[in-house]
Amino acid sequence: MVPISYYLILAAALFCIGMFGVLIRRNALVVFMCVELMLNAANLTFLAFAKQNGDFTGHVSAFFVIAVAAAEASIGLAIVIAVFRSRGTVNIDEMRTMKH
């Protein structure tokens, strides 16, 4: 038997790796991919607890997370395309319109 905590630690590690990537990488698309990583870590946590409790509400939640991630990915990529079209780059260092 693999104790649940092993799965949870794996999920935590995945989450932190994803967060690390979000805060470090310059390419907008890679940042997006790291966000997907974080979502998957959350999914893993849901499923681990579902197994522990014998309650498949976690599975349903993971199902919905996947659906929402799909919707979010499509819109986010559309935005990246639009930004690329107006600026010619997806390098987030060069997108500073929020600067005061």
Binding site: Y7, I9, M19, L23, I24, N43, A50, V80
Partner: protein
């Protein structure tokens, strides 16, 4: 030392390796492919967690549809070449990195300090109740979680329309 543990160890290691590859790869295509690999290995772990349906959905939707979308966009924007320089080390980046590392430590510590609960949900019970099967999940979704289901379908519609509108060059 049983099969489950070995399988878990293998899949976990591979998942972490490919996740690391995602964030350290030089070009976007490599990151995307590494991410696909991560999803596949994650699906394996899901199976170990008796979540068959979700594992299949993961491969179908995540690795199959979303990553394909990602690859389309990368190729559309012609971002295949690798960028020469790495990320510039600014204060915010260092802080961010430290935050991530710190968070990892905190989470591991808190998980480690979690009180151990006896695993009461056994395998035979799972098989008997149809844990994680499509039939049972489907039944739950269409009865108890019907409203969120319909809402998500609406959400997907909105996302479709939004994506088309945002990405058009001329509205």
């Amino acid at each position: 030392m049983n099969v489950e543990l070995v399988l878990f160890g293998a899949f976990a290691l591979l998942t972490l390796l490919s996740a690391g590859l995602v964030i350290f790869a030089k070009n976007a295509i490599s990151s995307a492919m590494a991410l696909v690999a991560t999803f596949f290995f994650l699906a394996g772990i899901y199976v170990l967690l008796w979540a068959h349906t979700v594992a299949v959905l993961q491969v179908l939707v995540y690795a199959g549809a979303i990553m394909v979308l990602f690859l389309f966009v990368i190729m559309l924007l012609n971002l295949g070449e690798s960028t020469a320089t790495g990320p510039r080390l600014t204060l915010s980046r260092i802080a961010g990195g430290a935050a991530a590392a710190g968070l990892l430590v905190v989470l591991v510590v808190s998980i480690w300090k979690m009180p151990v609960r006896a695993e009461t949900f056994t395998g035979p019970q799972a098989i008997a109740s149809g844990f994680g099967t499509l039939a049972v999940i489907g039944q739950t979704i269409f009865t108890k979680w019907l409203l969120p289901f319909e809402a998500v379908s609406l959400l997907l519609l909105v996302a479709m329309v939004g994506a088309v509108v945002v990405a058009k060059s001329r509205i």
